[in-house]
Symmetry: C2
Subunit: 257 residues, 2 copies
């Protein structure tokens, strides 16, 4: 299994605090030592960092824990391999371009038989179930919409495709096209929304403490999604199972389905 | 304009020496301060680092000058913007997946009217001529071959498509699908092949000197391609104009066309 971490914010936001917790679970406080990756969106652009080394020991992870990259959307993953050997090409998050948008995907779980699903336009580079599922999902989206659809239509399609994949096993994912952070889980994902008045938080995994009021303005909104809560003095909520959750500009969108 | 650097090797090879020279040209010894990027292939996998900051000042570039990432194929670029603002999405190299392969592309030059070329499967995320040309090129390849073709057929198609794009202006590029490093130029690209007996080389851009015999075995072969020679005590050759050059496992392949 693996752990996921995602962030959505209404202003470019430094994610070092959350990444510090997640990256320690990659071979330090957690067993997810088979590689890690993180993608940062800055406007339409996205840059990802990948390393097949354990994140707790990785020089690249060390740089990202100390160097403030500000981003509106982040997707990160620490890997414990089940299908697909430890290798760069099997390291999440995976990225593809569709409709002139950079799509990023990370998955926690296993999907029995997903590789029998036929692919058309998108093909995996590595050998994980996860990348196959991502390629299938994007191919299905492309077959339904020739161009980027309106948000509601995209969410309906994504929800339906995620439930379909979720029938094959555990399917906890984070996905983005640079505008929204989509989350789907059929086992477990937690989230927290932070906004004014901002308080103090302490990581679960190390004695790192931050006072968000020092680093924010009153209109800032930040949502963080994670496989397990990252802080011990805040209240994290579980995301509903079997349902697509959409975060936009730091807020969970509640939409009748 | 911009500068390019590429590497092809028959064993995973540390490219810090060449990258040190290139990255100093991004706002240090050269004017290419509008972002930089580098992609490393490790088997079928590829990871890229992008930064819209000048490479001479970038923390990420600093890490890559000191941390030995070993790779068989590298493509790097420092940017001086002409078309497309300074932004992450306009930072080379660009990547796309085609036929289950990670394709990487970097360009030096300008292409008049390239944005009028219609696109089908691949679309730019940013606003550069270069990314449009890359998307057009991959779309044309996909239209000609449903699956990854044999090397000779791929090279013929690429050569013809590059000459076609080269009719629009300056088109010096590096391209890879993880197996070969392809280079095309209609203005200027230099290369060097290093093999036993290995000697000493000194960078043009700083007093950094390396004795390759300390870091290699007698069967190692490494080829480096660059917009301008990176070392001052070796003999760099110009690549032929208007022709695709293919480097594989550290050697320039000579093939009748």
């Amino acid at each position: 299994m693996c752990e996921l971490m995602g962030m959505s914010a209404n202003v470019p936001t430094d994610v070092r605090f959350s990444f510090s917790a997640l990256s320690r679970r990659g071979g330090g406080t957690g067993p997810h030592r088979d590689g890690w990756g993180i993608a940062f969106y800055e406007g339409r652009g996205a840059r990802a960092f990948h390393d097949p080394q354990p994140s707790a020991e990785s020089e690249i992870a060390r740089l990202l824990r100390s160097y403030p990259l500000k981003s509106e959307i982040v997707i990160a993953h620490v890997r414990r391999a089940n299908r697909g050997r430890v290798a760069l090409e099997n390291t999440h998050p995976f990225t593809r371009e569709l409709w002139g948008r950079a799509w990023t995907f990370a998955h926690n779980g296993q999907l029995k038989g997903v590789k029998r699903r036929p692919l058309d336009l998108f093909h995996p580079i590595g050998t994980t179930d996860s990348e196959h599922a991502f390629c299938w999902l994007l191919g299905q989206l492309r077959a339904r919409f020739e161009n980027l659809p309106a948000e509601a239509a995209l969410e309906r399609a994504l929800g339906s495709l995620c439930r379909d994949l979720g029938d094959l096993g555990i399917f906890n994912i984070l996905l983005s096209e640079g505008r929204s952070l989509f989350a789907f889980c059929n086992k477990k994902l937690f989230y927290i929304e932070r906004h004014a008045p901002f308080g103090v938080a302490t990581l679960v995994d190390e004695d790192l403490r931050v006072d968000f009021s020092d680093e924010t303005t009153p209109t800032d909104r930040v949502a963080v999604v994670a496989s397990n809560p990252l802080t011990r003095d805040e209240t994290w909520s579980e995301l509903p199972l079997g349902q697509l959750s959409t975060f936009r500009a730091g807020s969970l969108q509640r939409r009748d389905r």
